[in-house]
């Protein structure tokens, strides 16, 4: 397993609640190369669910996360882009990846990112977070598949329900878990 994952490249678009937690699990699992991108700095309001710490407030998310991830596994090659991700740059930023983890917070951006990835790389999976607000209600969480597009979450909970660490972590780890499963299949097929 480790051998296959070490030959895998995963892109994580967005380093907030989904992205930071999913990236940690992917790096712990032994992913060989990770591409992370986000333009934000760490704010106090992020600490209730994102993989950041109080003494990191004010720092750039991608560079801070890269440092944390390499503290977990120094062998993981991490490319960190501190940029606003725009549709036109999807190929340039993430084109080297076997799989994309969609970890944006707003639905408008999720839409163009998924559309762009699925158009550019119809054979490569995109794993999207979709409905992860609130707490409890575990039974509502599902993975819905549409070809190589995977939607993880309850599909209904809105931001007004508030974001809570446990549920965000569950869904980001479902995404990481699914990405690992898909990578194992991709790398097995490539042998």
């Amino acid at each position: 397993m480790t051998d296959k994952l070490s030959r895998s490249v995963v892109a994580v678009a967005g380093c907030g609640g989904i992205g930071s937690n999913a990236a940690v699990s992917l790096v712990r699992a032994g992913i060989g190369e990770l591409i992370i991108a986000d333009m934000d700095i760490i704010e106090a309001s992020n600490l209730n669910r994102q993989y950041f710490f109080a003494d990191e407030i004010g720092l750039k998310k991608v560079f801070t996360l890269k440092s944390r991830l390499n503290s977990i596994n120094q062998d993981c090659r991490i490319t960190a882009y501190n940029v606003e991700i725009v549709r036109e740059d999807v190929k340039k930023l993430f084109g080297a990846a076997d799989i994309l983890i969609e970890a944006f917070d707003n639905a408008e951006s999720k839409q163009w990112l998924i559309e762009e990835w699925a158009s550019l790389y119809p054979d490569r999976p995109v794993v999207s977070g979709n409905g992860l607000s609130g707490y409890g209600n575990f039974e509502s969480i599902k993975i819905r598949r549409s070809g190589n597009i995977y939607f993880c979450g309850d599909g209904t909970s809105e931001l007004a329900d508030g974001l809570c660490s446990a549920r965000v972590a569950i869904i980001s780890n479902i995404q990481a878990n699914l990405a690992i499963e898909l990578l194992m299949k991709i790398k097995e097929a490539a042998v």
């Binding site: 609640g17 707003n106 999207s128 549409s146 597009i149 599909g155």
Partner: protein, 67 residues
């Protein structure tokens, strides 16, 4: 009768029906979605011009903010 399937529901099909016509017929209120027709992705800007063929299988997945 000419029909298409939208998220598992059968609806009647009309010649020249576009993705936007299908969304209107289904009375979907959510704006941010990913649409596939017979497994092929239809980008947002194509909803008004992409013709849905008879017997098509249309998937509409709606997207929710939060991450």
């Amino acid at each position: 009768m000419a029909e298409i399937i939208v998220n598992g529901h059968k609806i009647s099909w009309k010649e020249g029906m576009t993705v936007q016509d299908v969304l209107d017929a289904m009375k979907y209120t959510f704006k941010l979605i990913i649409v596939k027709v017979n497994g092929e992705l239809v980008k947002r800007e194509m909803y008004g011009s992409y013709s849905v063929p008879d017997n098509a299988d249309v998937e509409v997945n709606h997207l929710i903010s939060g991450g």
